[in-house]
């Protein structure tokens, strides 16, 4: 398997700021996502997210729920999936996970850089949404993927598509870059279960 350098940091329980850091990261992510108006969900249909839905999903309820259980956040860059080994690794890993992690205990964030090349941003966003819905349908992805139209997560994909793993109770988190090595997978499964 290919070894690679992970870019994320590991937080340990004995770090006195661990709870604070993790809470900040979750609040940051959920806050950014709740501002996003585009969602492509697992029922294979693209639809705009209503404000009330977003608040319920991404707000306090979401944070409370995920504080107790392990969960995954994928930061996805489509251009990175031109690399077949990265796409294969992502799909293999996803389909190896037990059902909760293929659905409600995972979310995805798609980094969208299309609008840099397009004059009309709303058309560009529709194009990205359309492609994403095809990707979700064809690959049977069961978790919602949000489009990061505000570029908040763009810097995170500098090394490729990543998965952020949060263990149950927010004890620890670690970020892994696709393609995952065998050791990466083992580590992730240990954190999740």
């Amino acid at each position: 398997m290919v070894e690679h350098k992970n870019t994320g940091s590991v937080f340990k329980r004995n770090n006195s700021y661990i709870g604070l850091k993790l809470m900040f990261s979750v609040i940051f992510i959920t806050g950014v996502l709740s501002r996003s108006m585009i969602s492509v969900d697992a029922d294979f249909h693209t639809k705009p997210v209503k404000s009330s839905d977003k608040i319920e999903l991404m707000g306090r309820g979401f944070q409370e729920e995920f504080k107790k259980q392990a969960f995954l956040i994928y930061i996805i860059d489509f251009s990175d999936f031109m690399c077949m080994s990265c796409l294969n690794s992502f799909l293999e890993f996803y389909h190896m996970l037990p059902p909760p992690f293929q659905g409600e205990r995972s979310i995805g964030i798609l980094v969208d850089d299309h609008h840099y090349h397009q004059k009309n941003r709303s058309i560009s966003q529709k194009i990205v949404k359309k492609k994403l819905s095809g990707f979700i349908k064809a690959n049977r992805i069961g978790f919602p993927i949000y489009i990061d139209s505000s570029d908040s997560f763009k810097s995170l994909t500098a090394n490729g598509t990543q998965v952020m793993v949060f263990s149950g109770g927010l004890d620890s988190s670690k970020t892994y870059t696709f393609p995952l090595s065998y050791r990466d997978r083992e580590e992730i499964f240990k954190m999740l279960f």
Binding site: M84, H114, K126, I127, K130, K131, G134, F135, K137, A138
Partner: protein, 319 residues
Amino acid sequence: MSKRIVIFHVLILSFLLGAWDLFPKTEPQIKIRLSEVLSIGSLEDDTLFQWVGVVVDEESNIYVSDTMDYTIKKFDASGKLIAIKGRRGQGPGEFLSPRSLAQSNKRVYVIDENIPGIQVFDDQLNFLNRLSIIQSIADIEVVSPDRIYAASLSYDKQGVIICLDLKGGLIREIEFGDRKKEMLKNFVNFEIGSDNCFYLVYNFDDKIEKFDPSGALLWSTELFKKIKSKKEKIRNITYFTNIVYKDIALDSSDRVYVLGGDFSDNKGKDVYVIDPDGSHIATFTLPESSHCIYIDHQDYLYCRANEGVTLKKFKIIEE
């Protein structure tokens, strides 16, 4: 003082002469415009997600490969979807990155960027067989029921178009390009004319070439002088980063249509028309950027819109 003025004027003159060379060598002689006749797929439906390859049969049915949902799709002449096949995988009728298509004699041939070989389907898109070929293929043309031509993806080798029989057996090879081993230098798209001549555009080099059926070079032309694709070194391998020409298509009179890349005024939109003798006779611009162009037997032109969510069909009108 006068010497300085003379030197200054000589320098200005040299600069102007040098700049003159950057313009296309020949002035276009005719004007071409496009009139849209059909549009398939939109941002509001789930017909196409990111189509890549297109081919049209004698009955004007349109076959399209869609890389985002790993399928091939068949539309009738009115644009109605009548068949869809494929899913992600490496088995029969499955794809990882479906790309170019070709058709002949009610057979549809599909190449996949990540699976060696050619998959063959009937005209209802039922899988028939796979032709085993070791090397990856960049482009494919089938001009007769028993002759399949394919340009191999030559990463650092002499460029080769291979001619195969219906079982995938090698009949002959046609060499082209630079023998110098340079990464991607011999990546081409090609077409075969009614006279069985080969027309090639190089993706990373300013070269458009015509070879006779035996493989002898008839002419070579360039539309941009002194332009070279930039290179970038990634993990000790040097890659070209600018595409000079994206695709080539021929109409029924063997006029050559070349889709320009990063060096065109309108990237991915300018189409250069070259007569069968190699003279640049016209330039026109597509409404939207496309990665490819295709011209069917009735001389309709097909290209991308909405970054592959939409397929457009145009009538080519000469003015």
